[in-house]
Amino acid sequence: MKARVYVTLKPSVFDPQGHVVAEALVTLGYQDVKDVRQGKFFEVELADADPATAKARVTEMADKLLANPVIESYRVEVLQ
């Protein structure tokens, strides 16, 4: 089974990369772009387990390694 983890900088942390991407989009003519926040996406392949257990496991992984809780938040999705 698979799980997806989305990691993003917390709203209070300035995202220099996202800011540059937003500026580039405006330069390309997308004047309606107000801001971009860049993050990370992980697809984790796991041994089969019940979804609740899998979600708990992957959440633990995100907390320990995939995200740095000082600056980042994360969201975990388990795919059936």
Binding site: D15, P16, V20
Partner: protein, 236 residues
């Protein structure tokens, strides 16, 4: 005394630190592989600059799990002096031995130049031989040196005098124009609550002889020699 310099796969300032400790400061030094589990009788530990484990995931994020880090943590817990330089600072942040985190430089540039850095506190093993508010010219070379801590944590760090180095102008005045990476409060280096673990983005070991453009960094490693000789530190 003896310095142990930890070598991670991707460290690139390990020999610089080894050279500065042994040839410039004139003490014993040994390189310790990250898969080792003991620090070879170190009196002080240096986590050097570089790109440990390729900086994959986040700077320092994988290095934190290297086997040697358990020994570094217990050495630090016993009060042993630990210095993290550049990538070594990032490893100490990820390992939770120092508070806060690094984000990408605010101007998205890898910055490599010599900058003025003011010594804020002299009661750490790595600043014991410095004068208060002394300005050191030290090279920086990093893409992720933009220091961040949540507001309450930043307040605590300032209140506890844990800011050890700050980016300033050559006269020692803080200013936005002299902050090379966007670090909060122009922070270039900090220590832990116990003051024995210090991390900084500038490279004192690369500024230890005049031939390198500045010898100002020598005092950082010389400080720990002085601190140990004075018995200011209790560990082992």
């Amino acid at each position: 005394m003896k310095f142990s310099v930890v070598v991670f796969p991707g460290s690139n300032s390990d020999y610089d630190a080894f050279y500065a400790a042994s040839r410039v400061v004139g003490e014993q030094a040994e390189l310790v592989w990250h898969k080792d589990t003991d620090l070879k009788g170190a009196d002080a530990v240096i986590l050097p600059g570089g790109f440990a484990h390729g900086d994959y995931l986040r700077t320092g994020a994988i290095a934190r799990f290297s086997p040697i880090m358990a020994a570094v943590k217990s050495f630090a817990d016993r009060g042993g002096p630990v210095l993290g330089i550049c990538n070594g600072f990032q490893v100490l942040l990820e390992a939770g031995l120092l508070p806060g985190a690094m984000v990408r430089n605010d101007r998205i540039k890898f910055v490599s130049k010599i900058v003025p850095v003011r010594v804020e506190q002299t009661d750490t093993p790595f600043t014991a031989a410095c004068a208060s508010k002394q300005v050191l010219n030290l090279p920086i070379a990093h893409g992720e040196g933009n220091y961040y801590a949540p507001p309450d944590q930043l307040d605590a760090i300032e209140k506890n005098r844990q800011v050890i180095f700050r980016y300033t102008d050559p006269a020692g005045e803080v200013g936005a124009d002299w902050n090379p990476n966007g670090s909060l409060n122009s922070i270039a280096g900090i220590c832990n609550r116990q003051r024995n673990v210090v991390g900084l983005m500038p490279h004192p070991e690369r500024a230890s002889e005049l031939a390198l453009g500045s010898a100002d960094g020598r005092v950082v490693l010389a400080s720990v020699v002085k601190a140990l000789a004075e018995g200011a530190l209790r560990h082992a």
